[in-house]
């Protein structure tokens, strides 16, 4: 699945961000390959959300750079992109799945409109085609296509997350950022959503940066793990290795607390 021979899709180089004296995150570096799922784990306040925002260009770093290989093969520093380029990238080649679906969906717009927005944003002007595509995606994320004209407010929590995923994937992005995508959902709903995400990631060859505090989510979805504490990456490696044989005392504590639970 992970293609290590290809050049990386996204590279973080010495990323740091400070809030006054507080460290948001410090000197984080890694490379993400196409089709690779990277989990960033840690407890709340460890800096994982700051890192996610830095990677996705929503927050400028105090130092360091994020390089991304564009669709034309050229690798660019996100900071060098114009606002227009960055926004275009964010709504075509990237996806962003929020923990709270209301941050990632237009709650007052129908499911079909939510999925269609990106298509219309890149110039699709054929209503029938947009609708067909939206139907196809609803089915793909296991939502009854007959609900295409319903608003997300009429959907359950799990359905909203699935709709959010469909809305993001409709332009065939290569990279999706996920912030606690299963947070706040019932266990059975969570399991179904994780299955769906795992299937889509494999089918579409998506690269994913996944932020989660839930090690079981990380184990199920990710190839590699970064463990963060107080803004630092304290351990990194293949998911199975890190979870089965944690090296750092803090990671051991995290892993054991999950097992005990």
């Amino acid at each position: 699945m992970t293609n290590l021979s290809a050049s990386p899709l996204l590279v973080a180089e010495g990323l740091s961000k400070f809030y006054g004296l507080r460290i948001g995150c410090r000197n984080v570096s890694f490379a993400l390959q196409p089709g690779e799922v990277l989990a960033i784990v840690g407890e709340s306040g460890s800096g994982k959300t700051t890192l996610l925002n830095l990677l996705s260009g929503q927050l400028p770093p105090d130092s360091g750079a994020v390089r991304y290989r564009m669709r034309d093969g050229e690798t660019k520093n996100l900071l060098d992109l114009t606002e227009a380029e960055r926004r275009f990238l964010a709504r075509t080649d990237w996806g962003f799945v929020h923990q709270d679906a209301s941050n990632g969906l237009r709650m007052g717009v129908s499911a079909g409109g939510n999925i269609g927005e990106r298509l219309m944003g890149v110039g699709d002007r054929h209503y029938g085609r947009i609708r067909e595509t939206a139907r196809g995606w609803l089915e793909r994320v296991e939502i009854d296509a007959a609900r295409i004209d319903d608003k997300p407010t009429q959907f359950s929590g799990g359905m909203r997350q699935r709709l959010q995923i469909a809305r993001n994937l409709v332009t065939h992005p290569r990279l999706v950022f996920m912030d606690e995508p299963t947070g706040g959902l019932d266990v059975s709903v969570q399991a179904r959503l994780l299955d769906l995400i795992r299937g889509l990631v494999a089918d579409l060859g998506l690269a994913v940066v996944l932020v989660t505090h839930d090690l079981s989510v990380a184990r199920l979805l990710s190839h590699r793990i970064l463990v963060m504490k107080d803004g630092h990456v304290i351990e990194a490696g293949l998911t199975d290795r890190v979870l089965d044989d944690p090296q750092e005392a803090y990671t051991q504590l995290l892993v054991s607390s999950v097992l005990a639970a």
Partner: protein, 297 residues
């Protein structure tokens, strides 16, 4: 300028001082240079309330010269109270000739309509605009809408049209129907009925839009492409009426519904009063009209 002194003591020609007019003309020139782009301007407080045409009045005041002939319409009619009031304002402050004849006017200030008669190259149509921002009701923040325009991010506008079709089977916007100007800026044409939208396209006349309260001026230069937003498989359609004007029999004009009694009786007549009068003077008679004679005046 001496003319003004007689007409409206103490005020400059067309009310505004020359410095203010120059400022407005600069904004107009910029607007013409960037068709459909909303140019901020330092709108002044006028002696009529905001929302009653202060933007249009300022634009008219800035472009009016002593030899201009002015026509003012509201809802297509020359004799509605607000049209009368604005016409009188310029009669008093500028002393210019006014007319109700579309063809005779060099400057036409309008609220909510475009005259039925095709406008000519020597004419300027000045629109009064309440809310210039076509994205305003999708996104209330000015900082955000300006970014969307700058980046030509108009997907959201189409989402709205998509929602209409999904819910009603067609786009449910009947006035202030958004247009794309010169293939670049999405523009609010002011609350004209969508019936009038095609008239903006490739018009020989200069079209200026003034929003006083919102402090914006924008323009469509002559012979500019103006396209109403739509979908390939749900193309824009101008409103059609299934009956002619009751007075003049016109089948190609925008009609107002007039309630004639309290038993549901109603008739449809041209909203463009000058158009209707002209046609009747030419001998056209609608189903409820009667031939015009000299005595009817």
């Amino acid at each position: 300028m001496s003319r003004t002194a007689e007409n409206y003591r103490g005020y400059n020609f067309a009310y505004l001082d020359e410095q203010t007019k120059r400022m407005i003309r600069r904004a107009i020139l910029k607007a013409i240079a960037i068709p459909g782009y909303q140019v901020p301007f330092a709108s002044r407080e006028m002696p009529m309330p905001y929302g009653w045409g202060t933007g249009g009045v300022q634009v008219t005041a800035a472009i009016l010269g002593p030899s201009d002939v002015l026509k003012v319409i509201d809802q297509g009619a020359d004799d509605t109270t607000n049209a009368v009031s604005i016409r009188q304002f310029f009669e008093k402050t500028a002393g210019v000739e006014t007319t109700t004849e579309t063809g005779k006017a060099t400057v036409i200030q309008t609220r909510h309509r475009i005259p039925e008669a095709k406008l000519q190259a020597h004419q300027v149509l000045v629109y009064q605009v309440p809310i210039p921002e076509p994205l305003r009701f999708l996104e209330p923040r000015e900082t955000e809408t300006r970014t969307l325009h700058a980046l030509a991010e108009y997907g959201l506008m189409h989402v709205r049209l998509y929602e209409d079709i999904a819910r009603h089977g067609h786009i449910a916007k009947t006035y202030a129907y958004p247009v794309l100007v010169a293939d670049r800026y999405v523009m609010d044409p002011s609350p004209i009925p969508k019936f009038d939208n095609p008239k903006m396209h490739e018009s020989a006349a200069l079209q200026l839009f003034g929003a006083g309260r919102e402090k914006r001026i924008y323009a469509i230069p002559p012979h500019t492409r103006v396209v109403s937003l739509d979908f390939e498989d749900h193309p824009f359609e101008a409103t059609k009426f299934d009956q002619p004007c009751a007075l003049c029999g016109a089948t190609d004009s925008y009609l107002d519904e007039v309630i004639t009694d309290d038993r549901g009786g109603r008739m449809f007549v041209c909203s463009d009063t000058h158009h209707c009068e002209t046609r009747r003077a030419e001998g056209h008679v609608g189903p409820l009209g009667m031939p015009v004679t000299e005595a009817a005046e």
